[in-house]
């Protein structure tokens, strides 16, 4: 027998088990799925996006003095109001802004900012203070608190492993950046057979936990695979990984997959040297991807049901460095996009470049205020439970 044939062990294939997830995956009960309701899409820009060259304060001399080589010429900036405008590569998002489908929140950060990527990303993903170490994420705790009976894929991380934001104490989000590949690994015949023959072992906590995660993954892989085939997007997305990820999200959304939270990321923003070209390319990838995504959502009547939150773990220093780049900074701007924003355009004033903390922007809005707003007013959850403290409402969505 050939080795390949022997590895196939085809005699192990069995019929679908009548597990609830399998019933769901048949699509017979899609009526449940119409209750998905408002969806949240989080977009993480990893590496620390330079906010000052994203939303440019084109009337500010301090900005141009601090960045003799890196400052974006006033004439090139896409003006959004009297003092602030887009980096020209964000042109694809100009209409989104002008049609009131975008809120830009300036100077978002937290007290005692940490300038390490890893640490600051931890803080953003967990929603902790800068002197606390939490091992669960803000969206994971949302699942813990609000998600009785949700399917395992209710919060989907479009990545090859699950980021901390989506890890809860009891419940986790679901990670995959390639549904076909996931279906292959979880389609391992031996493992399917093992799952089918397993009897609950209630007195052994971790065995039960491993089996549950395994069977959940197997059924979720089937469900997502089915859902991913329902709808093929007709919008042209840019040929980037980020574009592909967004397309995947929109196809699942259009197929009414029972997923409320999507998480995508775009990395490489750590521009210590030669920033101009690098950041422009990344922002272009971002803007073109988002433009196609929004067009797609609108086409399918989903934009009003969607809130897109874009953040980065920190901004960069006001002054450029000797390598025509910028070093790790603190507060940054954050974007929200969607069809139901209460406060459109700029939420607050431009950062004050004459009042810096050791060369860095001072934060005006704690990022957890924004999380709180999203949880309470978009996700219909209880932010105080999720974040461990109360934050005042910003009254920006709902």
């Amino acid at each position: 027998m050939k080795r390949r044939d022997f590895l196939k062990t085809s005699s192990l294939a069995t019929g679908a088990m009548m597990l609830p997830e399998f019933i769901r995956s048949t699509g017979l009960f899609d009526i449940w799925n119409d209750k998905v309701g408002k969806r949240l899409v989080v977009v993480q820009l990893s590496g620390g996006n330079d906010g000052l060259n994203t939303i440019v304060p084109f009337e500010n001399d301090i900005y141009y003095n601090a960045r003799p080589r890196l400052g974006i010429e006033k004439g090139k900036v896409i003006r959004l109001n009297d003092t602030l405008g887009f980096n020209p590569v964000l042109q694809p998002l100009e209409s989104v802004f002008k049609e009131g489908e975008m809120t830009i929140i300036n100077s978002v950060g937290y007290p005692n900012p940490d300038r390490s990527h890893f640490r600051s990303m931890d803080i953003w993903q967990t929603g902790s203070g800068s002197e606390e170490y939490w091992s669960t994420g803000w969206l994971g705790r949302f699942l813990d608190n609000e998600c009785n009976g949700c399917p395992p894929y209710y919060a989907l991380d479009v990545d090859d492993n699950l980021n901390l934001a989506l890890k809860g104490k009891e419940k986790d989000g679901f990670a995959t950046n390639n549904i076909g590949k996931l279906r292959k690994t979880s389609g391992n015949r031996f493992l399917k057979m093992v799952a089918e023959h397993h009897h609950d072992d209630h007195d052994h906590d971790n065995v039960a936990y491993l089996y549950k995660t395994m069977t959940d993954t197997q059924s979720s892989a089937d469900y997502l695979f089915e859902k991913s085939k329902v709808h093929r997007s007709t919008v042209t997305y840019p040929q980037t990984t980020f574009g592909k990820d967004l397309k995947q999200i929109s196809e699942l959304m259009t197929a009414k997959a029972n997923i409320r939270i999507y998480y995508a990321s775009l990395g490489g923003f750590d521009t210590h040297a030669g920033q101009k070209g690098k950041q422009d390319r990344l922002l272009e990838t971002y803007a073109e991807g988002m433009k196609a995504f929004i067009r797609d959502l609108k086409k399918n009547g989903l934009f009003d049901e969607t809130l897109i939150l874009t953040f980065s773990e920190f901004g960069r220093r006001v002054k450029q460095n000797a390598g025509n780049g910028t070093d790790h900074g603190t507060a940054n701007n954050l974007f929200m996009m969607g069809g139901r924003l209460k406060k459109q355009g700029f939420f607050n004033a431009a950062p004050d470049l004459s009042d810096l903390d050791n060369g860095d922007l001072k934060y005006q809005i704690d990022f957890r205020q924004i999380y709180s707003e999203v949880i309470n007013h978009w996700m219909d959850g209880d932010a105080e439970k999720v974040l461990g403290q109360r934050f005042s409402s910003l009254n920006m969505i709902g």
């Binding site: 027998m1 080795r3 022997f6 590895l7 062990t9 085809s10 005699s11 192990l12 890893f118 640490r119 931890d122 002197e131 170490y133 091992s135 395992p152 090859d160 492993n161 699950l162 901390l164 890890k167 986790d172 989000g173 679901f174 990670a175 995959t176 996931l182 690994t185 979880s186 391992n188 031996f190 493992l191 057979m193 093992v194 023959h197 072992d201 052994h204 906590d205 971790n206 065995v207 936990y209 491993l210 089996y211 995660t213 395994m214 959940d216 993954t217 979720s220």
Partner: protein
């Protein structure tokens, strides 16, 4: 001394297996066969007679890079050269990591290897450069089974740690209390046992404790050190960092804090307060003798109690090193290790933050679990794997495994007895794996193919994820 039923002859293979799973990285196939009829006393004696810790060395090519950078000490070029060294250094990091994996799978001193990994997670620290990383892991190895006080003192002067927790920026003019805070919160006594004032005062005591980036050595910069009086945990004096550590360690809370961590890691993630107190007593009364404390744990009846067996989810490194021992996995490049680190969520020298890896259930999500469960398939059935004793591949295979000892031993034996053996060796019986699953659908294959399948299936059982 312990008066212990288990140790005095009432032991069996399951206890030996449990001991090696926790105090080491499990046993390979031949080791299992040899030890299954041995005594627990002998196993314990073996574990505790590992000898002096072997230390890691840097590749010679790297050392010469480092020496070149050192030649410029004091010159204007120094900073430039340090940066230059750092740029070139990164590519050597995978080699350092591979060496460490090899060392963990080497069966000569499993307890030392396990303790080193434990302390690496406890004194969580990110090291990007080989000379820093090697220096730190060697420091840990030297003290891993020694005295905890010496270990803490050495870590406080460890260059990687000084850089990681910003003690490099801790000067009397502008103290940085990051290290001082984590020293208490995460490394020794735990939150709630010190005040903010204590953090500030300890921060002052560690001013001027710096790292030489090129030599990877500790240096004391007197002009940056605050020699003034400090009041710390109720005592007043012109304390330096060493004094601070000694004062912290006077407090028995330290022994309890570490005992809890040891319990969660070596005994059971579900804490048994009685056992923790017992561990803490031994630890404190022996003035923080790690070896003595670990010996006490591994000779205690409660360590072998059924509620502590098979309840721990293996860390990714425990999982991989265990497989490496059984299958004798040899890799010609570092890529699979990179893939394991990233795919399973545990990279050496790169914990998620200073709190270390949270462990147990936190290892598992849908993606990591599927990668874990497919890992034996990946090392046994992937196209580029050469199985010694079965397949002859090209002369320079990327991955090899060696199943010859397993083939030889099972030649001519019944599949049922082979399956029973494999489960007895590698899965805990309390976890009740279904033996029929391991042989289903294999009848038409050759003997070796059946053995390969049974090995791969045994190691793919979700139960194998536990130890």
């Amino acid at each position: 001394m312990e008066s212990n039923g288990k140790i005095n002859g009432m032991s069996d293979w399951e206890d030996i297996k449990h001991l090696y799973a926790r105090a080491g990285f499990g046993l390979g196939f031949d080791e299992s066969r040899k030890k299954e009829n041995s005594s627990l006393r002998k196993a314990l004696d073996n574990l505790f007679s590992g000898g002096r810790p072997g230390l890691f060395r840097l590749p010679s090519e790297y050392v010469s890079l480092q020496e070149k950078a050192m030649d410029l000490e004091g010159s204007m070029m120094k900073n430039f050269k340090a940066k230059n060294l750092e740029d070139k250094a990164k590519k050597f990091m995978p080699l350092v990591i591979t060496n460490w994996y090899d060392s963990m799978a080497d069966s000569r001193n499993p307890l030392l290897e396990k303790m080193t990994l434990f302390w690496h997670g406890h004194f969580a620290c990110r090291s990007k450069l080989p000379h820093m990383a090697v220096r730190q892991v060697n420091t840990i190895r030297q003290h891993a089974l020694g005295n905890f006080r010496d270990l803490v003192q050495a870590i406080a002067k460890d260059p990687s740690m000084i850089l990681y927790l910003n003690n490099q920026q801790n000067n009397k003019e502008k103290p940085n209390e990051n290290f001082a805070r984590e020293l208490m919160e995460l490394f020794t006594i735990g939150i709630g046992n010190y005040s903010e004032k204590d953090v500030k005062e300890a921060g002052r005591a560690f001013t001027g404790w710096k790292a030489d980036r090129i030599k990877a050595e500790y240096k004391f910069v007197a002009r940056r050190h605050d020699f003034g009086k400090k009041t710390f945990m109720g005592q007043t004096g012109d304390f330096n960092g060493e004094d601070i550590i000694n004062i912290i360690l006077e407090n028995k809370e330290v022994a309890r804090f570490i005992a809890r961590k040891i319990h969660a890691y070596f005994v059971n993630p579900k804490i048994d307060e009685k056992n923790v107190n017992e561990i803490a007593d031994i630890f404190y009364n022996s003035d923080y003798d790690i070896k003595k404390t670990m010996h006490h744990i591994f000779s205690s009846d409660w360590f072998y109690a059924s509620e502590n067996i098979g309840v721990k989810i293996k860390s990714p490194i425990e999982l991989y090193v265990g497989l490496k021992k059984i299958l004798d996995i040899q890799l010609s490049n570092h890529k699979p290790l990179f893939f394991i680190g990233r795919g399973l969520g545990q990279k050496l020298f790169n914990p998620p933050n200073v709190a270390g890896w949270p462990g147990d259930k936190a290892w598992i999500d849908n993606a990591t679990l599927m990668t874990r469960l497919n890992l034996p398939f990946y090392f046994i059935h992937a196209n580029d794997v050469v199985i010694k004793g079965y397949s002859s591949g090209n002369s320079k295979p990327k991955k090899t495994i060696d199943l010859r000892p397993i083939f030889d031993f099972y030649k001519g034996k019944e599949t049922e007895s082979i399956v029973s053996d494999l489960i007895r060796y590698f899965i805990h019986p309390r976890l009740s794996a279904d033996k029929k699953l391991l042989t289903a659908g294999l009848k038409r294959n050759t003997e070796k193919e059946i053995i390969i399948s049974m090995v791969s299936r045994t190691l793919s059982l979700p139960e194998y994820q536990l130890c």
